[in-house]
Each structure stands twice: as C-alpha cells, then as structure tokens.
C-alpha cells in the first residue's frame, strides 16, 4: 500500500500543479480581459460576454462539469480517465476561478495609481505589463495559492471519477474495501499538501509586498 500511496501522492501533486499552472497562464489573461473591458465603454459588450462565460462556468458544480466535458476530454486527451484527463477538467474549472480572483485584485488597485498611469499616456499593453501586473504581483501570488488549495479539494473529487491520485485511493480503499487506514493516510497527505502550499504561498507573496 505504501507504494500505492506514493504513486497517488505524486499523481495528486502533478494534477494540482499542472492544472494550477495552466489555469494561471490562461486565467490571469482572462482576468486582465475582464478588468480592461469593464473599464472601457467601447468594449462593454466584450465584458458582458466574458463575464457571463465566467459566471456560467463557475456555477456548474465540478462533478457535473466533468460529465459535461466528457466528449471534449475524449477528443482532446484521448481518454476520460487518468491524470491527464483530470488535468484537463481541472484546468477548465479553474480558469474562470482564477480569472475572477485576479480581476478582483486588479479592481483593488488604487484609483490613484491608475490615474498616474493614464496621465503618462501609456498604451494598454504598457499599462498591463508595466503597471497592472507588477503592482498586483503579491496579490496574484496569494490568488494562485488560493487556487492551488482549491485544486487540492477538486483533485480529490476528480479521484471519484477515475482521475487517480489520493482521492481515488481513498475511495477505492475506504468506500469499497473499508480500509480506513488508507483513507486516513490520504487525508493526512492532502492536509500536508495544503499546508505546504499555503506556507510557501504566503512566504512568496510577502516577498513581493511593498
């Protein structure tokens, strides 16, 4: 069982970080899109579309989203079970979440700083890359931390539908064979992963807090 725990732990970590990574690199740009379009009269419609899209995806429960995504997952990954299929599902669920978190941080940027940037006559691209992202870096790291911790829970759920990892291990041993020690170990490892992420996230975020 030790070997299995080992493997499951690796799978879980792989799923969390890979989907977390993908959700970050797609979610933050989506958040930028939300923020920028919300402040422009011209792109009002774009905001409406992005906003609706994010809301819809965020209101579908994860387990149902996985079901809805089955055809797409099959097409993209080739299979609907295993860690890669799970990463796909997790990423799709996490992108809107990350987008909302980052949009929220962008909205908290003090108005004065936006004014400062505006009065320098910078382009939108310059604004995003040289002001918006650097000024909210510490918060974005905190957001990524929240995202990853959420993904810990989601990977466990994904485990119930064949994703592998600690979630699946706990279900296989606990739910089907009543081996509660396996469940306990899984839970302990999941807690340790969460704690580790939170600790490092705080550390890292504080490094950029000015």
């Amino acid at each position: 069982m030790i070997a299995e725990l080992y493997k499951a732990t690796f799978e879980t970590i792989y799923m969390i970080f890979f989907s977390g990574f993908l959700a970050t690199i797609f979610g933050i740009p989506l958040g930028v899109g939300l923020y920028m379009s919300s402040r422009s009269k011209k792109y009002n419609k774009v905001y409406f579309i992005l906003d609706t899209f994010v809301n819809v995806f965020r209101s579908i429960p994860f387990i149902i989203l996985v079901l809805l995504l089955i055809p797409l997952t099959k097409k993209v990954i080739g299979t609907i079970i295993g860690t890669n299929a799970a990463v796909f599902n997790l990423t799709i669920a996490a992108i809107p979440f990350m987008a909302r978190l980052s949009e929220n941080s962008f909205n908290n940027l003090p108005g004065g700083i936006v004014d400062s940037a505006k009065s320098m006559g910078m382009t939108n691209w310059q604004f995003v890359t040289k002001v918006l992202l650097p000024e909210t870096l510490a918060e974005q790291i905190a957001n990524i931390t929240v995202l990853l911790i959420n993904l810990v829970a989601y990977t466990a759920i994904a485990g119930a539908v064949g994703a592998g990892g600690l979630g699946q291990l706990a279900i296989n041993y606990g739910y089907y064979r009543f081996q509660w020690d396996a469940v306990l170990y899984s839970v302990i490892i999941l807690i340790l992963i969460s704690q580790g992420i939170q600790f490092l996230g705080n550390r890292f975020s504080n490094l950029f807090r000015r």
Partner: protein, 337 residues
C-alpha cells in the same frame, strides 16, 4: 504670447440623476505659454477636479479644453495619449507605483517612451540630486516619508520636460526649507524651459512666490481671475471671502481709532514704484505729514508688492492724494470701518 491652454465653458458633475452634483460651473480662462497659474480656493471648491479635467482624467459634461492649439476634449484615445505625454502631473496624494523603486518611478515615463535604462537613470540622477533624493534612489515608496514621496512625484513629472505641468498641492507635506527649494526649482524650470505650470494650492506663500496669475474657485465657479497682485489687494480688502489675511486682521484697531478716519489711506505699491521715494517726495511737495500705521513689502514672482496704511495731516490732502495716485499703484481711503 502664445496660448498654451484654454478652458471654454467647462461643466463637470459627479453622480447621476438625483445624485448629480455640479462641481465645476462654466469655467473659462486662457493661459499663455510660460505662465505659472495658481488655482486657489477652500477645501472642496473643486480645485483638484478642475486640474484633473486638464488632461481629461475627468471628462467634462460640456465645454472645451484646447491645449497647444488642439481641442483635446474630442480626441480619440491614441491622440489623447500623445497629448498626455506632454502634460506632467503631480497628484495630491502622489500616486507613486508601489512596486517600483524611487529611481524606477522617476525614470518610468522615459522608459515608456523607449529611452534606454542607462540613459534614463542618468537623467534621474541629475534631477534627484537637485531634489535631495540621491540617497533614497533604491527605496520603495512605502519606505519614504510624505515629503520624500512628494519630491519623487515632482521629479517624475519633470523628467520628460513636458510643456505643461499640473501640480496639486505640491508643497503640502514639505517643511519650509524644502518648500522653498521646490518653489525655486519650479521657477527655474519655468524660466529655463518656458514650461507652463498650473498649481493648486492652499498656501499664500506659494501663490506669492511663483504665480503670475490666479483663479479663485468658489463652489465650482471662478470667483476671481487675474494677476497675483490684484488678487492680494482683494484678499487684503476682504473682497475674497474666507481666504487669506484681511488687512484689518493685521493692523491694530486701537491705533487707527486714535485718528480721523477720513485721513487714513491705503497705498499699494507694485513693481517699479516700490523702489522710489515717491511718498516722501509728494508729501514734501504739499507739506503733508505722514504717519505710517502699517506697512509691508513682499517679493512676488513678477515684482515687489508693497502695502501701506498711512494717516496724513496737513492742508492740501486732496491734492496730495491726487498727485500720489499717479505714482503709486493705488491709493484709497481705508474702507474697513
């Protein structure tokens, strides 16, 4: 002189529907290049709001702003950006970038425009030296005192040699010595590069030392618009309500009470005539005795401003006053009783 900025019938309001409040009410003025223009008024009068409309951080409800011959109120984003680069701004609460060090903050406008980091930093060093910031170049804004932040904001506005610089309370958190330094720097830049400044301020000292002309804002309307010395005459007369020292607050009422009030005059000297002994000469001519009850002379940007209250005794008072009128800025009976 060439006009640099003009406001035509500017109206600005905040809020919508029932919450709509008119903040700027039909503002009109024109500034020629190289002027230093003061905007004064009580807190909440709309000074910051007015300043923010000059580079369209606030969009006016109606009216026009013409900058350097271009009506900027109707420009598209791309053209507006180019205009904004020519207008430096120092905000009331500085608005420095928190993630950038002092040197990066100051150099930022140059870097945006494609100047190399090395060149930009070199230029920063020079201006930081002038503003006494050299030892803080690698600090972050959160590690600076209010006055230091203010100086960084000023340096950042000056670095691109803009045509117009908007200053919102630029000396509000500075000590008298640093205030003096900053004001001198403003004067120097104004003279050397013919840069126009619009300065919002509460401080009389700032107006006196650097402003060519002044607008006094009251409830969103321009209550006074004119040259600095005319503004001060009004302030001292008490014509500008609730602002600055009225002259009656500075003189001693007991002293005045002793004299015939028809014989008390207020004389104002402005510019060249402050340097000549006109009072003495004219008094001698009409054999008038003069008793000085109050007097001061101050250095304004455009010249010396003298304010004198005298009591006169003798036979030809009327003739004396008429003659003196020709050689001083103004003379009139003291009106405060």
């Amino acid at each position: 002189m060439k006009e640099i900025i003009r406001a035509e019938d500017l109206v600005l309001s905040y809020g919508k529907g029932n919450n709509r409040r008119i903040i700027l009410d039909h503002i009109n003025f024109s500034l020629s290049e190289g002027q230093i223009f003061g905007i004064v008024g009580l807190s909440g009068a709309g000074k910051t709001s007015l300043l923010r409309t000059f580079n369209l951080l606030n969009t006016p409800d109606s009216g026009k702003i013409v900058f350097d011959g271009i009506e900027i109120t109707s420009l598209d984003d791309v053209k507006l950006r180019e205009i904004r680069k020519k207008i430096g701004v120092v905000f009331q609460n500085f608005n420095l970038f928190r993630s950038k060090t002092v040197i990066e903050n100051i150099a930022f406008p140059l870097i945006l425009d494609g100047t190399s980091k090395k060149e930009a930093f070199k230029k920063v060093s020079a201006i930081a030296e002038e503003l006494g910031l050299s030892h803080r170049l690698n600090a972050y804004p959160s590690q600076l005192s209010g006055g230091e932040q203010q100086r960084v904001a000023i340096a950042r506005a000056l670095i691109t040699d803009p045509k117009l610089i908007l200053l919102d309370e630029p000396t509000s958190s500075l000590d008298p010595l640093t205030t003096k330094k900053i004001l001198n720097l403003v004067l120097e830049i104004n003279e050397r590069h013919n840069v126009t400044f619009i300065v919002v301020t509460h401080e009389m000292e700032v107006v006196k030392r650097i402003c060519d002309s002044v607008a006094f804002l009251k409830f969103g309307k321009i209550d006074f618009l004119g040259s600095t010395h005319e503004f001060f005459i009004k302030v001292e007369n008490g014509d500008i309500e609730d602002f600055g020292e009225k002259i009656e607050e500075e003189i001693l009422p007991e002293l005045i009470a002793e004299f015939d009030k028809n014989h008390i005059f207020r004389v104002i000297f402005w510019g060249e005539n402050t340097k000549k002994p006109v009072l003495w000469e004219t008094a001698k001519k009409f054999d008038i005795k003069i008793n000085i009850l109050y007097g001061k002379i101050e250095k304004f940007k455009l010249g010396n401003y003298g304010s004198l209250i005298i009591e006169v005794e003798g036979k030809g008072i009327e003739e004396f006053v008429e003659e003196l009128r020709n050689s001083v800025y103004s003379i009139e009976p003291l009106r405060i009783f």
